[in-house]
């Protein structure tokens, strides 16, 4: 589903964000991308939805060569990828319903389909009762759920989350992580960049750890810190 081969990313100002990264992510999997801030998590995600282009190496998403993708084909790639951010990026003058519908309307979806797809997505994230409400009237967790509803409304195969719980309290964090897990179980490939140790250690999913732009380790059913998870669980 996602494949990076020998990918490096140097920003125009000379900052090296990623060094020779190799990564394979299977269809339907759930992957944590962890590491300190500034280690290249966001940069890696940006390569996947072609917000950035790699300086070298090859990026493949859903059988599409993203690194050589023509500009005109980018919209089609992005319709297959939902993206969620720490700051939600909701439009404040639109209601929840309008925010979710927006993603469909601006990609030319027929009104008939919009009317059918928006309620389904709101139902999935449990926000049907807040459809007519503006983002400013929602809690942080609800705002993030609205953002997830928008990311998923077009039925993308992949959901990328960049610090999705960075602005949330522990109970909202748990709620969002449970939602992401449910979405994953329904078949969507989910990649979550986070530096929230508690979340990662509780979920026991695949953990890819980045440090200074390199993959330090990559564990199935891993912990935020390799080895430390087990000691944390020891009694006493």
């Amino acid at each position: 589903m996602i494949s990076l081969r020998g990918v490096s990313l140097v920003y125009p100002n000379g900052t090296r964000a990623l060094y020779d990264v190799d990564l394979e992510i299977e269809k339907g999997s759930f992957v944590f991308l962890v590491g300190h801030s500034g280690t290249g998590k966001s940069s890696l995600l940006k390569l996947l939805y072609r917000e950035e282009l790699p300086s070298s190496g090859q990026v493949v998403v859903d059988d599409i060569r993203v690194d050589t993708l023509r500009r005109g084909r980018v919209p089609k790639l992005r319709r297959n990828i939902g993206v969620v951010f720490q700051d939600f990026k909701l439009l404040s003058h639109k209601t929840v319903w309008e925010n979710v519908a927006f993603a469909l309307q601006v990609t030319g979806t027929r009104t008939k389909d919009v009317m059918r797809m928006v309620p389904r997505s709101l139902d999935l994230v449990g926000l049907s009762h807040k459809a007519r409400v503006f983002p400013s009237e929602l809690s942080g967790g609800e705002q993030q759920r609205a953002a997830i509803a928008r990311a998923l409304v077009g039925n993308p195969k992949i959901l990328l989350c960049d610090e999705p719980t960075g602005n949330l309290d522990p109970s909202n964090t748990t709620e969002i992580m449970e939602l992401l897990q449910r979405i994953n179980i329904k078949g969507t490939t989910v990649v979550v960049a986070t530096h929230n140790q508690a979340v990662v250690d509780r979920m026991r999913r695949r953990v890819v750890r980045l440090e200074h732009g390199r993959i330090l380790h990559d564990d199935e059913r891993g912990y935020y810190f390799r080895g430390l998870g087990q000691t944390a669980l020891l009694p006493g």
Binding site: K89, L91, T111
Partner: protein, 290 residues
Amino acid sequence: MDWGRLRFFLGEVFTNFTRNAGMQFTAIGTVAVTIVLLGAFLFVRDTIATFGNGVLSQIEIAVYLKDDVDDAKARGLAATFAADPRIASATYVPRRDGLKRMKDVLGSDFDTSLLTANPLPNAYHVRVKDPDLVPAVARSIDRDPRVAKTDYAADTVQKLLKAATILGRAGVALIALLSISAAIVIANTIRLTVFARRREIAIMQLVGATNMYIRLPFIAEGMLAGLLGAALAIGVLTLAAYEVVPKLASTLAFVTFHVNTLTLCFELLAVGAAVGLIASWFSVGRHLRA
């Protein structure tokens, strides 16, 4: 037709448009001023052209014959004129008729009692089919041995036409400059809207809207500003046409005023829309490429 989609699109345009209303007013005003001047310019140019053509079509070459050419000899010239394909008509004016005609034209200001003899020669009044050929025809008539002199209002007409040409060029330059400044104002307005809507644009790009789709509401916004400016200008021009033109017409009775209003309105609206379209196209394009 998907009315929901249309309503969404128009809603987006309306939101854009009202986002920085102050700037929009400036844009609309600039377009309006440009188009009022364009309309006034077209009106003046058309009037001069109509007037000039009217004068030109009436130009006669006065052909004065030599003193020793009597009526009989003079009539021989008629055949020469008839043979010239450039000549529309030639009227013989014997000297006695010439004096009468002069009296008719000049009226009581012309006192014939002072004249001891008729000073006028026998003459022909020649009309040429194509006003442009007047000088050439006059020259070839001049070469005839029976002709003393030819005369026509050459200088006056040529000066008039030259003035019209210069006015036309100056007008075109002025309109071009104004259109450019109107376009710049619209482009800046659109840039502000683009800036105000950068979050929307970022999300549109994120969820996979095409650049064309993202562009469309801004293009529509620019065209709307252009159209509203043009409509305002047409209002001003219509008012002017009803108020000013009748007064002008009574003062300058010899000039015929004639405007093809409907065509002109469409042309002016098209100009406004085009200025808005071009300006916003480039303004948004620059942002999307970045």
